[in-house]
Assembly symmetry: C2
Homo-oligomer: 366 residues x 2
Amino acid sequence: MDERIREHAAVLIDWSARVEPDDDVVVSVGPDAHELAVAVAEQLGERGANLLATYGSGEITRAYLDAHDGEFEEPVHERALLEETDVYLSLGGGRNTSAMADVPGEVRRGYRNTRKAVRETRYDTRWVSTVHPTRSLAQQANMSYEAYREFAYDAILRDWESLAEEMGRLKTLFDDGSEVRIVSQGTDLTMRIDGRTAVNSAASVAYDSHNLPSGEVFTAPYGTEGEIAFDVPMTIRGETIENVRLEFEGGEVVDHDAERGAAVIGDVLETDAGARRLGELGVGMNRGIDRYTDNILFDEKMGETVHLALGRAYDACLPDGESGNDSAVHVDLIADVGEESRLEIDGEVIQRNGSFRWEDGFEARQ
Amino acid sequence: MDERIREHAAVLIDWSARVEPDDDVVVSVGPDAHELAVAVAEQLGERGANLLATYGSGEITRAYLDAHDGEFEEPVHERALLEETDVYLSLGGGRNTSAMADVPGEVRRGYRNTRKAVRETRYDTRWVSTVHPTRSLAQQANMSYEAYREFAYDAILRDWESLAEEMGRLKTLFDDGSEVRIVSQGTDLTMRIDGRTAVNSAASVAYDSHNLPSGEVFTAPYGTEGEIAFDVPMTIRGETIENVRLEFEGGEVVDHDAERGAAVIGDVLETDAGARRLGELGVGMNRGIDRYTDNILFDEKMGETVHLALGRAYDACLPDGESGNDSAVHVDLIADVGEESRLEIDGEVIQRNGSFRWEDGFEARQ
């Protein structure tokens, strides 16, 4: 076994999920994530936790949904399992990222709605999602398998403690600030952030962060004004999206276009009232992620990028008991801020051309 | 997809497990049983049952056990799942039937003991075990993959209703009888069966039968006298066993030998007092199984064989509330009765040289 698989498992179990002896752990295993699952099992055994492996296969879900009449019932047994689960580790990695491409959106939504309590019960556990680098993910990234593995482990095997400390600086600035401004080519956007709390997403449940890799600081903005160009491509609902431009007035999108995929963005915006407002402003700070791979788990954490999400805000960013922007969707769009760009909080430049003000080279990059 | 995979799934769901709409179903998927799992998912969707897939991997269990200190705790979450489960379908099929070969027996036993409540909760569901024909099972059978698939589907895709009817005849004879005698080369054995109930194991929970394939009638004998030679080879605890001979007096083994594997048989017999007595007499009646494949799920159901198990008896064969022979082990041994053999109940010949008395050719085979 590649020693990095064991290191990945160790980061997941110790840093991310904070597994303790006697924890009841569910490990969801993707069809091609077997090797990572073996490494995770080994380390769960070592720590004296209990292990139940589930099988997360898009092909199985597709076959099930395709044959179903759409009158779904809540899976009571799955909820019972999760109610007694302390830690839920999702090891993604299938053989085809398009395995569910032909399941109609309506069927997916019906299934998803029936599973709301199951999902919320899972969110009450110490849950972490990661992926095992597979050939299918390499293909999605337009990379060789060998190169993709290098990429993925660079992203996953970080010095998380020191990244958490660095990200803590930006979190403090966000928490103390009132207004964020992003200026770049085609972009001049301001958002209110006062009263909101930023999340230092350091790939650990101890930081309210549930992705491995992670490496972003995000908050829930409001009162957005101006325009922004998103130059990092994405796949949304199976469609390629390129160079989206959004224009905001009074917190809402009032105009949009795109070089590719404008219709998908239009559909997203028409979902509901909340889909026209922002749910998230995130700043990617994982410098192990140095390229776009068409996988949001990685892309949105890429160093020298910011992302904004149309739709639902995370409660963690709101004052206790309050909810932020509500919507059925949460669609991230990503902008490169590595060149001719600056991020300001209350008029003060925090990041310029990709460098933060506490980094060497910040002055030089003016 | 090979249409036989869909037929296998249909037999499993409809004939074996009697799945109904809204059933909460757990499907345990072996690493190479993915295709069967897809077919099962399709048909569970069609019937409107709920599906949770678990991952049954010997390599994961081995990694977990190998790293564990042996002080196991009960997996409360898994028990909670099974308490709300109506149907449990185990789809076996890994990549290596020896995946757990180096896990010490002591560790397995400790793990097994901690999982007693989990196991019993599973036995309270409509559970069925089957296997997807894999390359690893073909190898174990010393067969090509292509030939093994033909073999496996011949065994699985039977006319179960008519086999159940035929097996019902033998069950009635066992239920009404007092003494069974088996006579063959090297064998002259008598067992008491009065007061015991035979199980018509017709591969369906409706018949108290939990294996697919099945196709045997079994009961719980006692008071065994005489000797028997088992000429079908087996693998027990990783060792090849050939031509075991047992001698009984007053219901207990008083002498044993074997051409190969005598030491393993000796170990089994020394487990506890119950290991020296029989827990099961079974008659194989699945004529789709026409050869030995070193897989007890198939071998013990082979037409024209009988098997005896040292150790634990099944409660289903005993009067309500009574338990039969008790032991930590249940080890099956198989004898060919296709030639120069007869099975008698109370002095009447029921099967001669492999043919039952209700079959064409019974007289001719005298």
